[in-house]
């Protein structure tokens, strides 16, 4: 592979604390090297531009069965909404809120992203997830299997058998080639097997007789027992309902007293995802209000927590989550079509289209809540930009979210379109916040922070020598930022350059190469555990509808793997 020299750019690398210094970045054989060590590099002139590591998305639904249900059952998401094929890309790009795998890869690359963590993989469906990963070009993917309603997990944690649960977790990560522990509506999705839910952390799971609180604490202990790269990644109980911020605070408090144990530089024990959906006050849709301040006050004061915002982008989109009962609840609110998939012994997902309209008060308050979370944050290395794609909006809106965060004028302009502006201002603090984030802070929220939280900051999210040569260059001059926020949005939508693994992949906002992408997974060595082996054998013999030997992903269905090894036996 050739050498590359990125010259004279304003470099933002929060992992090294570089805040817009003019620096050269060297690339050799797919890795970042000291600029001085290159012999005859090809040069990219980045003068007057912002240079960052390739973007890292901590939470996005891009591959897998429920994403595909969203694609399948919404033909209206394609017609008149898909772009014509780019002559520089090898495949068509179809879809809008739930894009095809090809469009997903290309669009992330155009925005300068290189790593996307699929937020929920039903373990039974892991071959499907990996097939879609194969067809998602350019970006590296990891996928988190869901554990919060898994019968093995419920049974072990009920009896406080952390070691057994850890052995099972290690087995499942290997069986599915998964990345970490995802928890969605702990206990609630199992209750949905009977059409029920767990509405707060003390609401016991039918039959299993364990509370969501016990599940979350048990999984945190399991995660730190194993020392996984990422922490427990939690979608709290009672998503989306007025007054749920108290349940959210109850959930976050479960992490009190736990400290991270790992060799990957991760500092949190709990990641709270799409916090916007969990930070509501009021007791009805009538007096629905923001409680972002209360939630962020707690998060700011506790270092062992990271969050992502789940920003509502005011689009027509497709909601999808392994929170089965919530999707049923949602379809009873908007009466649109509803898909549901309960997965034996593991989880239950639902999919419902949703229109976040600037004419609806609840939607505009949700919009404000997401931005408040980011703007109230005192540590943007622990607060990440997401839209919980596609739940609060498609990931292609990240540039717009960045513009809102960087510019009060951008926020004001959007607020002018609200039908219920006064009531939105009354129910939120958004109008009183003047804070505008900087490019450095955006780099924290979109690459350095997520990479650190995922435990992959030795490879992704930074520009230190030895790391992957994943470099995004944006047409923004920090010394002369555009006064029009639309220019910020434009710059982040289509990066000037993206270098992925040392290959120039995007140039002038167009994909010009499709370098091989990777599947990142975590392989944990644990001591042999006969009981867990027996439990696995028994459940597959009696309760699964597939054979144990056909459940684990066959090696031939894993594509271009990058293994992160964890050894707990030493």
């Amino acid at each position: 592979m050739g050498e590359l020299l990125i010259k004279n750019g304003f470099v933002f690398d929060p992992l090294q604390g570089i805040k817009g210094d003019r620096m050269d970045i060297g690339v050799k054989d797919g890795k970042i090297v000291e600029a001085g060590t290159l012999s005859a590099p090809k040069t990219i002139d980045a003068a007057g531009m912002a240079v960052m590591a390739g973007g890292v998305d901590v939470h996005s639904h891009v591959v897998g069965p429920k994403v595909n249900v969203g694609r399948l059952f919404r033909p209206e998401d394609k017609l008149f909404k898909s772009p014509h094929k780019s002559p520089t890309c090898s495949r068509m790009e179809m879809g809008c809120s739930v894009p095809s795998t090809f469009k997903t890869g290309y669009d992330y690359a155009r925005m300068g992203y290189v790593f996307v963590n699929e937020a929920a993989m039903p373990p039974l469906h892991s071959p499907h997830v990996h097939e879609e990963i194969r067809d998602t070009p350019i970006i590296d993917n990891a996928a988190m299997p869901v554990f919060g309603n898994n019968w093995f997990t419920l049974e072990y944690l009920k009896n406080n058998e952390i070691e057994n649960n850890a052995a099972y977790t290690a087995w499942l990560l290997r069986a599915t080639r998964g990345f970490g522990i995802k928890v969605v509506n702990p206990g609630g999705s199992e209750a949905w097997g009977w059409g029920l839910n767990c509405v707060n952390i003390n609401d016991p799971v039918p039959y299993f007789d364990i509370t969501p609180a016990q599940i979350v604490k048990g999984l945190i202990e399991t995660n730190e027992h194993l020392g996984l790269p990422h922490s427990v990644h939690l979608h709290c109980n009672n998503l989306g309902n007025p007054g749920n911020y108290t349940d959210t605070l109850d959930s976050i408090r479960l992490a009190e007293g736990y400290t991270p144990k790992n060799n990957f530089g991760r500092e949190q024990v709990l990641h709270l995802t799409h916090l916007q959906f969990h930070s509501y006050g009021g007791d009805s849709w009538g007096n629905f209000e923001s409680r972002a301040k209360d939630v962020m006050d707690y998060v700011n004061a506790h270092d062992n927590i990271t969050v992502d915002i789940g920003q509502v982008t005011l689009d027509e989109t497709t909601t999808m989550t392994a929170d089965g009962p919530f999707e049923h609840h949602l379809c009873s609110l908007n009466h649109l079509k509803w898909a549901n998939t309960d997965v034996e012994l593991e989880t239950a997902a639902g999919v419902v289209p949703y229109i976040y309209s600037p004419n609806v008060k609840v939607c505009t308050i949700q919009w404000a809540v997401g931005l408040e979370l980011a703007l109230f944050s005192k540590d943007l290395m622990r607060t990440f930009i997401t839209t919980d794609h596609p739940n609060a909006g498609p990931f292609t809106r990240y540039p717009q979210v960045i513009a809102w965060l960087m510019s009060r004028a951008a926020r004001d302009e959007t607020m002018k379109t609200f039908k219920w502006l006064d009531r939105t201002i009354d129910a939120t603090s958004i109008d009183s916040i003047d804070r505008e984030l900087t490019l450095y802070e955006i780099a924290q929220m979109t690459r350095a922070g997520p990479a650190k939280a995922l435990g992959i900051s030795n490879t992704y999210g930074g520009l230190a020598p030895g790391m992957d040569a994943d470099i995004a260059i944006y047409g923004l001059n920090p010394e002369n930022m555009p006064s029009d926020p639309a220019e910020i949005e434009k710059a982040f939508s289509r990066c000037a350059w993206l270098v992925k693994d040392g290959t120039v992949t995007v140039q002038g906002g167009e994909v010009v190469a499709e370098p091989a992408k990777r599947t990142v997974w975590v392989d944990v060595k644990v001591p042999e555990n006969a009981q867990v082996q027996r439990d696995i054998y028994e459940h597959f013999l009696r309760h699964y509808s597939v054979k144990l030997d056909n459940y684990s992903l066959f090696e031939e269905h894993l594509h271009n793997p990058r293994v992160i090894e964890v050894n707990t036996t030493e």
């Binding site: 394609k78 009977w194 379809c331 898909a339 509808s545 992903l553």
Partner: protein, 456 residues
């Protein structure tokens, strides 16, 4: 020593049994025994090594006979047909793996073809209902572990999905259903008293073509409103009784078949079935599932949804954007209107399944069949390309009727020299690229394709 291969997936129906044990002869050339499979699945395996298999592509000659040709020649022919056609149709896929479907999609996109699968003449009407109303469903293991009420409506698994009832629905003992059959109520609704109806606790002989009325009556009854003394040939008391059973279930699943999606009402029948499932979820837990036919007919719907966003009837002829409009871009309709000027039949038998008028139109143009066996399609084709049998000679991922991916194995090698579907399409794709490059060097003119029977 004969060798036993365990946990083998069965390439017959959408039940996708993955517990077969296949015994292969010492030399690995003959299948000796198949355990656990139904009679049909059993036959698929034995058939693979019983008699002589087609091992080389065969090209139709002017005198009407077939002549063996090499794979290279066959790939070249197929690529040229696709390249020269204005609107080729690639159809089938019920019986191949997802790898083959992905490769075929690549070819279709490059060639600007219409890409369609057997759902087009089967559960396509279910897709229409799903587009409108959603699909509250579950995996089959959920039904096995939880369901205490099972409804089969317009489906006859006793014949079409022989192990469905024993693996997933009526008979198995699951986690919360330890008493198996004894703990379940079975309701069968069908105009015919089928063999499935024999095992029902309650059988409703709905008047043919009146399924929609009966659903309507159930929905009305579930909401506590009055219904007439008789609806669709069923007495009010029986309707109320069944409505009450469904309402009081802990967990129920409605399995429906072609009796709903291909009798009068079609997608509307499925639509109201989904609506009833939604209604029932206000009281308790209910799910619904289409009894998909072939072992991997769910596959193309999945693969093409992630690749293009549509499950079937994909018009890729514009090459830069995909378009779907069943009725306009569906195989039968295209064929009946004679809009197709080349046809690839893959992993199905359009010769047997399509209306004769459609077949007659398609036959005017080049017709290529890609299939392991001799079938009606292969016998009227211009070119027959033999391939390995998925699940027997070719491994790969298939999707069960509940969208669960099952990893299939191979138990023996394909006959010497025979390629897989995926390899065939990958090579056609490569050849198409070469043709494009050659043509680009020459200039824009395109020849009109000529099937061997163009003069007829």
């Amino acid at each position: 020593m004969p060798k036993k291969v365990e946990n083998v997936g069965c390439p017959y129906c959408g039940v996708c049994c993955d517990d077969l044990v296949v015994t292969v002869s010492d030399d690995g050339k003959k299948i000796l025994e198949v355990e656990n499979a139904c009679a049909i699945g059993n036959e698929i395996f034995h058939h693979a090594t019983r008699g002589k298999r087609i091992q080389l592509p065969r090209l139709r000659q002017p005198d009407g006979t077939y002549k063996d040709i090499s794979y290279d020649e066959a790939i070249d022919y197929a690529a040229k047909v696709l390249y020269n056609a204005k609107k080729p149709l690639i159809y089938g896929f019920g019986s191949t793996n997802c790898e083959g479907m992905a490769a075929a999609a690549k070819v279709a996109e490059r060639a600007g073809a219409v890409l369609d699968n057997c759902a087009s003449i089967c559960h396509g009407s279910s897709f229409l209902a799903i587009f409108d109303n959603g699909y509250p469903s579950c995996t089959l293991g959920e039904t096995k572990n939880r369901a205490d009420v099972i409804v089969y409506w317009g489906a006859n698994p006793a014949h079409a999905h022989p192990r469905h009832m024993s693996r997933y629905s009526i008979f198995p003992r699951g986690f919360f259903t330890g008493k198996g059959h004894k703990s379940r109520k079975i309701i069968v609704i069908d105009p015919r008293h089928t063999d499935t109806a024999q095992v029902a606790d309650i059988y409703l002989q709905v008047k043919q073509g009146h399924d929609y009325d009966l659903f309507n009556a159930f929905r009305t009854a579930l909401r506590g409103h009055e219904i007439p003394a008789e609806v669709a040939g069923i007495k009010r008391e029986q309707i109320l009784e069944v409505a009450e059973i469904m309402k009081k279930a802990r967990f129920g699943t409605i399995f429906y078949g072609m009796g709903l999606c291909h009798s009068d009402g079609r997608n509307h029948n499925v639509d109201i079935a989904i609506s009833m499932t939604r209604d029932l979820n206000d009281f308790t837990k209910w799910t619904i599932m289409a009894m998909r036919g072939h072992y991997n007919i769910t596959g193309p719907g999945a693969v093409w949804s992630w690749q293009f966003g549509y499950p079937y009837c994909l018009d890729l002829t514009k090459k830069d954007i995909a378009y779907m409009n069943p009725g306009e871009t569906s195989s039968i309709d295209l064929a009946m209107r004679d809009e197709v000027d080349a046809f690839i039949n893959i992993g199905t038998d359009a010769g047997a399944h399509f209306p004769i008028e459609a077949v007659k139109h398609l036959r005017k143009h080049p017709w290529i069949t890609i299939d392991p066996n001799i079938c009606m399609a292969s016998e009227i084709s211009d070119l027959h390309i033999p391939v390995g049998i998925v699940g027997v000679e070719v491994p790969g991922i298939v999707y069960r009727m509940d969208n669960v991916p099952i990893q299939y194995r191979k138990v023996i090698d394909p006959p010497e020299g025979v390629l897989s579907d995926e390899e065939v399409f990958e090579r056609i794709f490569k050849r198409l690229g070469e043709l494009e490059a050659e043509e680009a060097a020459k200039g824009p003119a395109k020849a009109v394709p000529q099937g061997i029977r163009a003069e007829e």
